[in-house]
């Protein structure tokens, strides 16, 4: 710190040094993917494996294109379920956390049941839900059960980890409960909430798939997981792989979108969204 340390400008970022490292970080996983695919294709070709034992990546890709009509419709069904479950989980988790934060009484009464709901394997719960609820509702409920807990627990943590001095400041200036919630607790909890939502996004996809698998044997589903089951029965292994590929891509996209939203919301102030050098 030189002349007036009080007014020194923010430290400039070292620019160029990060570029090479970033290129390596993107290139390496791509190389691994390429090597894996080539090996897979070679193993299939050299051993003359029939597609119903193991299809090569090229055949899987071809199937993805030729069956796109069926697969895309299933993808939409699964995505819609995931989205509904995710929204329900986000709204439910945040609302419940806010209620818990306002009333210890409610928290003590209900939190154990939230935990029980979380630790009971959803795959065992799904068949029961399918008995009592219409199938589409049951699938969404499954997605919700799996995904709401991380939102709830992260939001609860965030609301409770408000800076004590800031809380004192709000008290000093006579802030109402609503003001404290809106101007202090919610913004302070935002990084935690967004972290919870990022986990919930992936989990609601898992919940949707689990419920579809459970429902699939009942026969009425048409989501991607149902498609995988169905293709399995028909020994249409390339389509199983293609559907799996789509599920995996859907998960990646969901995570990416949520991570992007989180980054955009926090980039101006939160440590997690800032470069390591600032």
């Amino acid at each position: 710190m030189s002349a007036p340390p009080d007014q020194s400008p923010p430290i400039p970022r070292p620019a160029a040094e990060g570029g090479a490292l970033r290129a390596v970080r993107i290139l390496l996983p791509i190389l691994v993917l390429a090597a894996g695919l080539v090996t897979w294709e070679l193993v299939v070709r050299l051993n003359n494996l029939p597609p119903y034992v193991l299809p090569g990546p090229i055949l899987v890709f071809k199937t993805l294109i030729s069956d796109w009509g069926v697969l895309s419709r299933s993808l939409l069904v699964t995505l819609l379920t995931t989205f509904e479950g995710f929204v329900a989980a986000a709204v439910g988790g945040i609302a419940l956390a806010l209620l818990f934060n306002q009333s210890k009484f409610l928290e003590y009464s209900l939190f154990p049941y939230a935990v029980i709901l979380q630790v009971t394997p959803v795959i065992a719960v799904a068949p029961l839900l399918l008995i009592y609820l219409p199938q589409q509702t049951a699938v969404v409920v499954c997605a919700w059960i799996v995904a709401f807990f991380p939102v709830l627990s992260n939001t609860t943590l965030g609301l409770a980890s408000v800076d004590r001095n800031l809380a004192g400041l709000f008290q000093l200036y006579g802030a109402s409960r609503m003001q404290t919630l809106r101007y202090l607790k919610l913004p302070a909890a935002l990084p935690h909430i967004l972290g919870g939502l990022r986990i919930a996004g992936g989990l609601s996809l898992i919940g949707a798939v689990v419920a579809e698998l459970a429902a699939g044997t009942a026969g009425a589903g048409s989501g991607l997981a149902y498609r995988i089951n169905e293709s399995g029965y028909r020994l249409n292994i390339p389509r199983m792989f293609a559907a799996l590929l789509l599920l995996s891509l859907a998960g990646i996209v969901i995570y990416g979108v949520l991570a992007l939203i989180s980054h955009l919301a926090l980039r101006r102030w939160h440590e997690s969204a800032l470069g390591k050098d600032t």
């Binding site: 007014q7 001095n165 000093l172 102030w269």
Partner: protein, 278 residues
Amino acid sequence: MTNVGNGGIGGAVWSDAGLSAGGIAVSLRGVTKVYDSGVMALGPLDLDVRKGEFVALVGPSGCGKSTALRLIAGLIAPTSGSVRISHHAGEVRPGRAIGFVFQEPTLMPWASVRENVGLPLKLSRVPAPEADARVREALEQVGLAEFAGAYPRELSGGMKMRVSLARALVTDPDILLMDEPFAALDEITRFRLNNDLLALWRNLRKTVVFVTHSVFESVYLSQRVIVMTQRPGRLDAEIKIETSEPREEEFRTSAAYAEYCRKVSAALAPAYAGRAAL
């Protein structure tokens, strides 16, 4: 001319001087604070601060200086005794009578400097145009007018502390409570902020209660240094600092300053000696 009182048990001895010299801004009578853990943190403490006076509280760490400040601010309630704060002409202005500057800047990281400084006004629902004008004025007072749009992470430690000070001033409080505000800053920044604070105090004529563990800072800033005993903190001694006003940087190097520092250090010594013996 110094006046080393020995309050300790009968702390009321010196309070008469305050009464004769105009209004009392802050009055503590027999105040004690026992924390839930059973730790006796403070008192019994008697303290009077005149309107427009700059008082420094010094004492060993853990002696309850900060507790005393929080009691005055109304952030915590005394276990026994009374805390009285005078308001402007008897007018009750909740949240306006007191400004508090914490040991850390205690800024909301998600909000710009402008929003941080304007927080007390927003909480008391001051109309936006008026609030904007007052925020600008407060930022000008601390010399940060051009940083209104910056975020806290973009500022240096000294600048953050200035923002915190501007936020305390924005409500135009009668009493400014400062809890070791410059303790974490480097010495040069600290000296600059000391001078700026003195200038502000001269211009605005606030009542200031300044907690510090620095003997040098307490002598440089205040009109009266109150030395506290180790926990539970009581009044140990009172040293009046009388020098030509306004104080300038030369005061720091003057013989009178050194003499005052020696006196305060001597008054503090028993508290620290007691600690060593424990």
